[in-house]
Symmetry: C2
Subunit: 326 residues, 2 copies
Amino acid sequence: MALVFSHCLYSPLSSSSSSSSYVPAGPLQSLLKLSRPRVLSVSASTTPSQRMDNLHNEGRRKFIEFPYVSAPHKKLMVDLVSMLDTRFDSHLLPCTLPPNVQYCQNQGGTSHASLHIRSGHVSSPIDFILGSWIHCQLPNGGALNITSLSTYLNSSTDSPNFLMDLIFSSPTSLVLILDLPPRKDLVLDPDYLQKFYEDTKLDAQRQLLEKVPEVKPYFSPSLYIRSLVSPTAILVRIESEGVERMDEIIRDHVGPVAKQVLQVWLDKCASEKREVAETERDYLQKRDKLVRTKTIEIDLASSLPRLFGPETADRVIAALKECFSV
Amino acid sequence: MALVFSHCLYSPLSSSSSSSSYVPAGPLQSLLKLSRPRVLSVSASTTPSQRMDNLHNEGRRKFIEFPYVSAPHKKLMVDLVSMLDTRFDSHLLPCTLPPNVQYCQNQGGTSHASLHIRSGHVSSPIDFILGSWIHCQLPNGGALNITSLSTYLNSSTDSPNFLMDLIFSSPTSLVLILDLPPRKDLVLDPDYLQKFYEDTKLDAQRQLLEKVPEVKPYFSPSLYIRSLVSPTAILVRIESEGVERMDEIIRDHVGPVAKQVLQVWLDKCASEKREVAETERDYLQKRDKLVRTKTIEIDLASSLPRLFGPETADRVIAALKECFSV
């Protein structure tokens, strides 16, 4: 597993979905009933705008269910999505991914994924926001569960992005990646380092988690992933004695830290206008593009075909590449 | 303590000093007899060239003594210096630092340091090589002992540098920093990452050390230092049960890994000619200069005056700045 092998989808809560999004995770059948038939049964009499809204709402509902993860894990994800929603909803366009990209499964029904992407309005500094979950039954009888949330700013600003992945290879084994990845070479720009990483005291959040006995540093097998995270990145492996203790760690430690890191991003990265010179903009665009290309390559290009088959993998990767402009 | 608070001095072994350099560490008085009087008593009848050789040899002898560290620690340092010596001796100029920079102590005689720098010939890719040791008695009766070795390539090549610091805050507590710090933004140059860090399998060395039970990851308090190291950097804290076990760890684990990392640097970074375009060279020079400036600022600017007094600190920092061209 690299940064996470499935970067994915974000869909903000809206008032109409807020109650249903908190219902306990249902089994696969109810999940399928909720999504595909509705999307596919849209009446021909609906307008294009209505069809887009339906598509968006359907995907959002699917995403926000987080049907395979524990209650504290789901609550954390919903809370984070809600924080983004509160700040940005009016600045974001509906998710227009095809239904079979917003939700997909493999032929055997052992792998499921939800992917939701919303682009920012032209006037917004947000390029797009992604959220996702993925669930894969493992040959040993267990399951892999990943939830992800990440934001991508456009080149009107050089502020850092936000990134969080929770990767459960079992209910008691978690890899957490939580960071504001920089969009510049920090070695060449100590002021940027000072502004976004030192003044914001982000390392204090990393240190808080470090104190939890079950938390150990995690080294991504991808050196590229290690290169693109910030010096205050939280990359940890958490192995708990039991499921209850993992719930406690998510609720009492991971949750507060994740919310604080997202709050820093909201306050310091997403809010402030930063003048970016024309030459600087070319550099930013080049660097952003490379990061996105490499992220797809490292994260998805080999694992997605293995888990979902080549056809679904190709479809999802093509949609992501279009969204990523790579 | 940052990267190390005292980056310092390298002097290669020569045949005339190889036996004396292995004698056990002597007390302060014999140390002083070895250095200052000899340097200061150079006869007026010696030629400028002879005086330069004397100055160089005196500093080298002092450096290579490593008078305050354990036998395995000293052996490791001497072995690494010897590896550099074997490869580069004829490409390096003598150390021309003033005697009171090559060796210095504080007024109370509780802090001692040796600093040795050799620049490369104009035709060499080596800008300079630094080696040092520092010894400071601590108020609790213990002592801080640091030994450092680092290489700086010039802008005829963009290959990584070599860096090693062993920082003992007690005989059983070590922070080890061992890396080939990149000289480019790795996010923007995946080929560079591949060539110097993936193909060389440097991470296997980090993983070898990670397996030693006493080895724990170390996070530098300086975010700038964390930013400038590579994704395969070894930044670890080693706490041993006793001095004998620490000796064993240095001899059996740290030593082989350090030698292997230096060998990679010798084979892949210092040997190969890499074409650097004019525009690329400006970038390299700018980045190198910033790294050097920040390193002095973080590493020495506050700690050196505290340990050696302002006058000595100013003298050493001025000499380093001149050497660093910053």
